[in-house]
Subunit: 655 residues, 3 copies
C-alpha cells in the first residue's frame, strides 16, 4: 500500500536527505508527495530549467523503496513571471486585483499565464517521463474556483455562453433576460455578473458559476493532456478539498485517472462530516482513491488550530481507508518554519527529530503492510445513493431566495447522518449516472430538475427503486428559472403531488407536523402540497394549511417516491422516516454490530474487511456473530469483544 | 375606483393576453401598471422604436375597461447602450463601479445617459400622447439616492454648491471648513466626500446628501416636464418606497401631480410602521395617493419572504385606503419565473391559473366597487402633525455623533405609536409648511433648526398651537454646524430653556426621571436643561444633574411648547405624557370605539367613512354609539357589534 | 508647571482673543497648544505665507504669561495642494485611494508631498525661530501608520529591504521565501504584501510593518531635523496616542526630545488601562513627559461620547502627573461647532462662556502651582519592567496563527493589573535596553526572540534578576520564522525547558492546572513543556499531557526565570503567582497604604510625593504610618485619614 507523507526537501539543507530517507524507511513509507510550489526552483530564470536536483531526490528515494507523487508547480508562479506580466492577476467582482504574495493569484483564462503553465508542466513531465519512481502526477494544488472578472474571462465567458445557447434569442428566452431589460442583441453585450446595486439575475449567476467550474476543468485538462501524452503510464489526479460546493468535482474527475483528497476535519467534524466527504471523493470516480493530505498534526489555516490527539491520526487514517482510500499521504513530513503555513506541524519536529506523531504513524504504516494483501482488491459497496447536484447548490447561491436560512449541505447531512449512525454505506451520484444498483436514492434539495433528470429518476423508481426528495426539489429548470408546473416542476408525475405554495417564517418558527401519531416541529420552510396520486405520510398541524401533507409517498411503477415538504426537523424525524424506508429496501448485515461503534466494510468478491472503530473515550463492545479474523493480531474472534477507546478492530470474514 | 395589478405581459407569450384580460375582468380590475423595464423591447436597437406591441395591449385592455399606468422604462438601460457607453455607470465612494446586470446602474448626472433617457421618454410619451387608456405616468421605478462619485457628479456638485453658497468665502465660513484645513480657494478644489481615513466633515456630508436628493429630483423633473408637455392631460407620479430617509420626498413630490407608494410590510410592521408610512405618503402632497405596489403575496427581496396569510392582502388593502389611497395596484398579477424577483408570487400561479390570492382580491375589488361612490370625495383629516425633516435625518448620518444609538425614525415611531393606538389621524409636515390647522405639532429629534424654522414654530405656538420637541432639537444650524446658543439653538425662546450639556451612557444605562410621581427609565441620552421661562414637568432622579428638568413646558403666546430632554423611555412614558396633552388639544370622536381595534376615518363634507379593522386572531367587539350604515352589507348598525378576526367593518355615518 | 489647553483661535473671530486670554489667565494657564490644521491659513496660496496673524496671537499670549506649544500643520494638506497633485494620496492594500475631506490623506513617501511638508515646516520654524514664547514644537498630529501601497512606497520598501538583507539570496533564505515559490531573483520583483487569495507570508508581513513604522519615523525625523536646525533651543515632540501597537514608539521617541501623549479613556479604562498607557509614554524616553491632550469633557470620536463627570477631569490630571506628566494641556479650550469633532466639548461653551469644566480645572491649575516647586525634580522610579516588543505584536498580526484568540495587549494587562492594584510602579522596556536596575522583568508573549535578545535576558537574570515569560515567548526568530529549537527557541537555556507542542481548543475550553494545591482553568492555549534544568511550579490536570508542567521556574546564575505555559487564567492565578515572586524581589514601601486606593509616588533625591487617589464613589481611608505633609492644605498628616470620594490627597514625605 502506498503510505507516506508530503515532503518539502527544498525547505531544508541538501544534506538532510539521507537522514530523512532513513527515518522514512524506518517508518515504513512507500511514497512521498513533492513538487507543489517549486516553480522558482525548477525555472529560476525564464527558460532556464533545473530538474537535476529534484531527480536526484526522487531517485534516492526510489532506491530506498519510496516512490513519488509529483505535483505540477503551477499554483504559485515565480516572481520573475509576475514582474514580467503583472496583468496575469485575478480580478474580483468589485474590480480588485488579487496580488501575488501568497498562492493562487493567476487567472486560468489568461493566455500568457496558460502558456507559461503549459511550458513548465511540459518540461517537467518530459524530463521525468521515463523515471520509474513516479507513481502519480498531482495537477496543481487544491484547484479552486475564483470568480475572475478580467477581460480574458469576459471573452471566454461569451464564447462559452454562445456554445451553450447558440443564439442570443435562445439565451434571452430560456433565461428570461427580459427581466429588468437584460436582453442582449449580440454576444459582446454579455458581461460577467459583478457588483451591482440590486440583486443579480439568477440565470446569469448559475451560468457564470458553471463557467467558472468549467474554467478549472479546462485548465486541469490542459495539464492532464500533457501528462497523458508524455507519461502515459503514470496516473493523473488533482487533490480535491473542501466541501465540493464551488466546483463540479464529478466533471473534474472525468479528466483524471483517479480521485484524491485533502482532509483536515475540525474536532466536531471528525465523524459524520468527514465520512460524507470521503464518500463523495470515492463517488467522483466510483472507485478507490488517494488521500493526498491526511492530517497528522496541527493544521495551519484555521482560526483555532487544535492538536491532533494521541491515536487520532491513526484512527483518521483507517477512517479514510474504510471509506475507500487505497493510499495515504500524511501532511506533512517535517514541521514547517516559515511561510503562511509556518505553524503547521508534521511527523518530525522543526529540528528534524521524530515526535509522537511519527511514532504513532510508523505503527500505522506497519499495520497497513499487514492489511494490504487482503485489502487491495476491496472497495465499498453501497446500496444507498445521494444525488449531489452542483447546479442545485449554485441555484441556492443566487442573491435572492425564498429564505437565506436554507443550506444544501446541511440538508444533505440531516439525511446522511442516519446512514452513518447505522453503518450503512452511501454513494453519491451526479444527476444522470447509472443508479440501477441502488435500493434507495435520496435527493435533498434537488432544486434543479430538468426533464432528463426527471426521466432518469422515474426510470429508476419504475424499476423498483425507492426515491426520496425534500422540499424545493424540482423548483427550477436547467436555466435556474422557476418551473411553470407549480413548485415541484418536472417531478410531478414521479412524486404524484402538486406543490402549491411555500411558507417561510420571518421569526424562524414554523409549523409542527405529525407522522404516525408523533409530533415534529419544523423551523424554516413549509411547502404546501396537494396530493394527486400520492398518499399522505405526515400532516401539518397548524396554520391555514393545517391537515395538508408534510410528507407524501407515491407508488410509481414497481417503486415508491417520497417527498418531505418541510425543513428542518430535529434528528428524530429523519431517524423515524428513514428507519421505515430502509427497513423495506436495504439489506443490512448484522454479523458485526455494536452500540456506539462506527463500522464500515470494504468487500471484494472473496473477502469482507470490517473496520470496527471506537471514536469514543471509553471502551465499547462489539458483538461478532460469525467467526472473523482479527487482522491486526491474527487471532480468530467471535462473540462480545472489547474495542478499546480511540481504537479499532479490523476483521476479515472468512471466504 | 382604480384597482388592479402590476402586469408584465412581455414576460409571457403574446397569446396569453386574452386569458389575462378575461381573468382581470372577472376579478373586477379597472387598471394595470405596465412598462417598467421594457426599454430593451421598446428600443431593441439604437433609435429603432417598437411601440406597436405595447399599444395593442394597452388598447385591448382599454376596450375591456382596464386602463393603464404607464411607467417610463429608464431604471434599466438596454445592454446595447451599456456596451456603447461603459462610462455611464455609478461610482461608489471607494471608487467601485456599479455594473449592469441588475437594475439602477446609471448615473443621473451622466450627460450621455440623460440624453438617452430623455429620448426614450419623449418617444414613448409622444407615441401614446393621445391614447385615452393611459390614466397615469409613473416615472422610472422606485427612484433612489446613490452617492455617485463620478466626475460628472463632482462637476455638478461644484455648481450646486456654488449656487447655494455663492462664494467660497461664504462656504468656508458658514460650514467652518477651517476645521482640518479644508477651506477652498476656488470651487474646483471642492470634492465629493468619499472614503477617508478619519471622519468626514459633517457639513460636507449634509450638503452632499442634499445634492444627491436634488439630483434625483432634477432627473425626475426632466421626465415629468416631457410628460407634462406631451401628455398634459395625464397625471404624473413616481412610486416612492422605503422609509423616506435618503431622499427629500416632500420636494420630490413637488414635481409630481400625485404621490404614490410601494408597500411590503414585514409581519411585525403591518400595523404601526405601515400606518406611519402611509400617512407620510398622503402628507407629501396633502392629498389622496396611489398605491402602486400593494403586496399581495410572497415578496422576492427579503431574507425571509413570508407568505401573506389568507385575508391579509384584503386587510392591507383597506389599511391603505383608510390612510388615503384612492387607487390600489397589486404587485403582481402573475407569479414570476425568472430574474432577480423569480421567487415573488402574484395572483396567478406561474402556469397562469388563479390562486387563493386571486380569489381573495376579486372579492376585495367587488367590495371597493360598492364603496367608491361614497369614498371618492373623502380624505383623512388630521389634527396632529409630525415635523419630518430630511435635513435632521441626514445630520444624524454624519460620521461622528454624540452616540451611534440614536435613530430618527425609531424616535418618531415612539411618539407616533400613541396616535395609532388611539385611532387619532396624523399628518407629516415639512419644515415651513402651513400648520395653522393642527392642534398639536410634534418634532422628534428635529436637529436642524434655522431661524426661519424657529419663527415658523413660534408663530404656530403663539397662535394657540401646542408644540413638542425632543432632545437634540435645535442642535445644529442649517449648515450642520452646532448652534452657538447652548444646545437648543434657535428654539430657546419657544421652549424657554437652555440646554447646557448632553450625557450619553457608554453602557446603555442612563438616568431615571419622575413625572407626576411616577418613574421612567431612559437608556441612551440625557440633555441637561436649565429652565428660563419654562416650567419643569419631569425631573431626573440621579447623577450630578439630579433634580434638573427632564421634561419642560413653556407657555408661549396662546400656546405651549414642550421639550423632552431624554431618550429612550418605555412606552408608558409616551402614553402618559401625550395623554395629558392630547386631552387638552385634540377633539376625539367617540362615536365608534373598541378595544384592540384599529379605527380610521375618511371624511368629506357630507360623509364620514369609518374603517374598523381587527388585525387580531380573535373576534373583537366594536361599540357603535350612533347609528351607522355597514357599507359592505348595506345594514344599519348600532350598539355592540362583532368584528371577526382578521376582518373589518366599513361604516358610513348618516349625513 | 506648564498647564493649559489646546487652542484654536482660527475657529473664532479675531476680537475674541482678549477675552480668551483673560479667562485663561484667571484659570491659571501657563501654556496653550496651537497650529495643528492651519496650513490653509499659513499658506493660503502656494508659496504665499501668512504668519503674522499667528505671531500676534503667540505674542499676546506670551505677554500674558502664556507660552505656546506650536504644532506643524502637516496632517492636513491644503485643498489647493490636493488639487494640484491628486497623486499624493494614500492607497490601501485593495487599491482604494484615501481621499481628502478629513485629515491624514497623504503618503509620507510621496516625494511631492514631502517637499511641500518640508517647505511649510521650514518656513514656520524659520519665522518663529527667535520667538521666546514657543516652548515646544509638536510635529504633525497623532502620527500613525497606514499600510500605503502606492508606487513610491513600493520603491522605498525595496530599498529598505535591500538595506536590511543586502542580497536577495539572504532575504530568500532567512525568511524562507521558497514557501509558495516566493523567492525573488532581483529586488524589483519584491512587492508590498497586499490583498491576496490565501494567507500572506508572515515574514513579508513583519517586514512591511517594520517598514511602515520606519516610514513614520523617517517622516518625523525630517521635521525634527528642520526644527532642531532652526530652533535648536526649543524641544521637539510628537503627540503619541492609542495603544502603541502599530508603530514602534521607542524608536519614534529617539528622534524626539520629549515624549507626549493624548489620553481619552473610556469609563472602564480610566484606571488600569490608562495607567499602563501612561507608564508606556514615560518609558519611551525614560523620563517625564507632556500630556498634550488631556481629555476634559465629551470627546468627539467614540460611538458613545460619555460626559466627563464632575471631578473626573481633575482626577485624570493627577493620574497623568502621578505617572510622570510634567505638563498638562487639556483638550480643548472652547467647545467645537463644526467639522468632524463638532460634538467635542471644552472648558468654554460654544458661546465662549465658562462651563463646569472651566471651574474645576481652574481649581486644578491653582493646585498645580502649589505642587510644582516640590514636584518638578521628581519622577517615577520603577523596580519592575515589562518588555514591550513591537516585533512580537506584529508577529501576532500575521494572517495565520495558532489561534486567533490571543492578543498581546490583553496578555500584558493580565500581568500589569497586579502591579496597578498593589501600587507598584512599572516601566516598559524595549528589547535591548539597560534593565540592570529592575528587580523583576516580565515578558508577556514575547514571541520574537533573537539570539541578542536571549543574551540580554540571560545577562540580566544571571546577575540576580527575576525574569518571567509567558507562552509563545521565543516562538519566532527575528524574521518571523518559527524557531528550529522546539517552541521556546533561544530562551531554552534561560528557561531550562523544551516546549514540545502547542494545544489550542476549538471550543474555547482548555485544560485546568494546579499550583500549590489550588486549581486554575485556562481557556485558550496550553504549551506542552518538558523541563530540562527548570522545576515544575504548576501542573496540567487533564488531557494527554496531564501532570506535565504548566508553570516552571529555572535557577539561572544568581536569578530565576519563570515560564507560564498556558492562557488565559482568571485574575486569581496572576495574583497568586506574582505575589510569590514580588514578595521575594521587590521592595515595597508600606508607609502610606489603604484598601481600594490608587497610590502612586514620584520621587527625587530629596522628596517623595505621594498621590493617594480614590476613584470610587464612596469615601475611603488611607493609613499614613509616618508623618507627611498634605500639600494641598499644608497640614501635617499621620494615622487614618479620610480620602473623599472621587478625590485625592497629595502627600510629601519630609526630607
Amino acid at each position: 500500500m502506498y503510505i507516506g507523507a508530503c515532503y518539502y526537501p527544498e525547505h531544508w539543507e541538501e544534506e538532510r536527505l539521507e537522514i530523512d530517507i532513513k527515518l522514512m524507511k524506518e517508518a515504513g513509507f512507500t511514497v512521498v508527495r513533492m513538487g507543489d510550489y517549486i516553480w522558482s526552483r525548477l525555472e529560476p530564470w525564464e527558460g532556464e530549467y533545473r530538474f537535476e536536483w529534484l531527480e536526484k531526490i526522487i531517485n534516492k528515494l526510489g532506491e530506498n523503496g519510496i516512490r513519488t507523487v509529483l505535483c505540477t508547480p503551477t499554483d504559485a508562479a515565480p516572481m520573475w513571471l509576475h514582474k514580467k506580466y503583472p496583468d496575469m492577476l485575478l480580478v474580483d467582482p468589485q474590480g480588485h486585483k488579487i496580488y501575488p504574495g501568497a498562492r493562487t493569484a493567476c487567472c486560468f483564462n489568461n493566455p500568457v499565464f496558460r502558456e507559461y503553465a503549459e511550458k513548465i508542466v511540459y518540461q517537467l513531465v518530459r524530463y521525468f517521463q521515463n523515471n520509474p519512481n513516479i507513481v502519480l502526477y498531482q495537477i496543481d494544488n487544491e484547484l479552486g474556483v475564483f470568480p475572475c472578472c478580467c477581460d480574458h474571462c469576459t471573452g471566454k465567458y461569451r464564447e462559452w455562453m454562445k456554445a451553450r445557447y447558440q443564439t442570443v434569442e435562445n439565451y434571452n428566452k430560456e433565461c428570461g433576460m427580459i427581466f429588468w431589460s437584460q436582453e442582449i442583441s449580440e454576444w459582446d453585450e454579455l458581461s460577467i455578473p459583478r457588483k451591482t446595486r440590486k440583486a443579480l439575475h439568477p440565470s446569469a449567476v448559475l451560468n457564470f458559476k458553471r463557467f467558472c467550474s468549467d474554467t478549472v476543468i479546462d485548465y486541469c485538462k490542459m495539464q492532464a493532456d500533457i501528462i497523458k501524452k508524455w507519461a502515459p503510464h503514470v496516473e493523473v489526479t488533482t487533490n480535491m478539498f473542501g466541501s465540493f460546493t464551488n466546483q463540479n468535482h464529478f466533471e473534474l474527475a472525468d479528466v483524471l485517472d483517479v480521485a484524491s483528497f485533502d482532509i483536515y476535519p475540525k474536532a466536531d467534524e471528525a465523524v459524520v462530516y468527514a465520512s460524507s466527504r470521503l464518500d463523495l471523493v470515492r463517488s467522483f470516480k466510483k472507485k478507490n482513491f488517494w488521500m493526498l493530505e491526511q492530517q497528522c498534526s496541527q493544521a495551519a489555516f484555521r482560526a483555532d488550530n487544535r492538536a491532533v490527539l494521541p491515536g487520532e491520526a491513526r484512527m483518521m487514517t483507517y477512517k479514510s481507508i474504510a471509506h475507500g482510500a487505497d493510499a495515504i499521504v500524511y501532511f506533512r513530513w517535517r514541521t514547517c518554519r516559515f511561510g503562511a503555513e509556518q505553524i503547521g506541524a508534521g511527523m518530525l519536529r522543526q529540528d528534524g527529530s521524530p515526535n509522537r506523531t511519527y511514532e504513532e504513524l510508523s505503527r500505522t504504516c506497519r499495520e497497513t503492510e499487514i492489511l494490504w494483501p487482503l485489502l487491495k482488491d476491496t472497495t465499498v459497496n453501497a446500496q444507498v445513493a445521494f444525488v449531489f447536484s452542483n447546479d442545485s447548490i449554485w441555484s441556492m447561491q443566487s442573491d435572492k431566495k425564498i429564505t437565506k436560512k436554507l443550506n444544501y449541505l446541511d440538508e444533505m447531512i440531516r439525511y446522511y447522518k442516519f446512514f452513518e449512525n447505522r453503518n450503512i454505506a452511501v454513494d453519491f451520484v451526479a444527476p444522470g449516472e447509472d443508479i440501477s444498483k441502488y435500493k434507495l436514492v435520496i435527493a435533498p434539495m434537488l432544486t434543479i430538475v430538468t426533464k432528463e433528470i426527471a426521466q432518469w429518476l422515474e426510470a429508476y423508481t419504475d424499476q423498483g427503486g425507492c426515491f426520496m426528495a425534500s422540499y424545493l426539489s424540482g423548483f427550477y429548470d436547467g436555466h435556474n428559472v422557476v418551473t411553470e408546473n407549480y413548485y415541484q416542476g418536472e417531478l410531478r408525475n414521479l412524486l404524484g403531488i402538486k406543490v402549491l405554495e411555500w411558507c417561510v417564517a420571518e421569526d424562524g418558527k414554523q409549523n409542527d407536523m405529525s407522522m404516525d401519531g408523533k409530533q415534529y416541529g419544523s423551523d424554516v420552510v413549509n411547502m404546501i402540497v396537494e396530493t394527486e396520486n400520492a398518499k399522505m405520510v405526515a400532516a401539518y398541524e397548524h396554520n391555514f394549511y393545517k391537515g395538508t401533507p408534510a410528507v407524501t409517498v407515491n407508488q410509481y411503477g414497481k417503486g415508491e417516491a417520497y417527498y418531505v415538504a418541510a425543513a428542518s426537523f430535529g434528528e428524530d424525524f429523519y431517524e423515524d422516516l428513514l428507519s421505515k424506508v430502509v427497513h423495506q429496501y436495504v439489506e443490512t448485515d448484522e454479523a458485526v454490530r455494536g452500540e456506539g461503534l462506527n463500522i464500515m466494510e470494504r468487500t471484494s468478491k472473496e473477502h469482507k474487511i470490517i473496520f470496527v472503530m471506537n471514536h469514543d473515550d471509553r471502551e465499547k463492545t462489539v458483538d461478532i456473530k460469525v467467526r472473523h479474523q482479527n487482522l491486526l493480531t491474527g487471532d480468530e474472534v467471535i462473540g462480545k469483544v472489547p474495542v478499546p477507546a480511540k481504537d479499532l478492530l479490523i476483521l476479515a470474514s472468512r471466504p
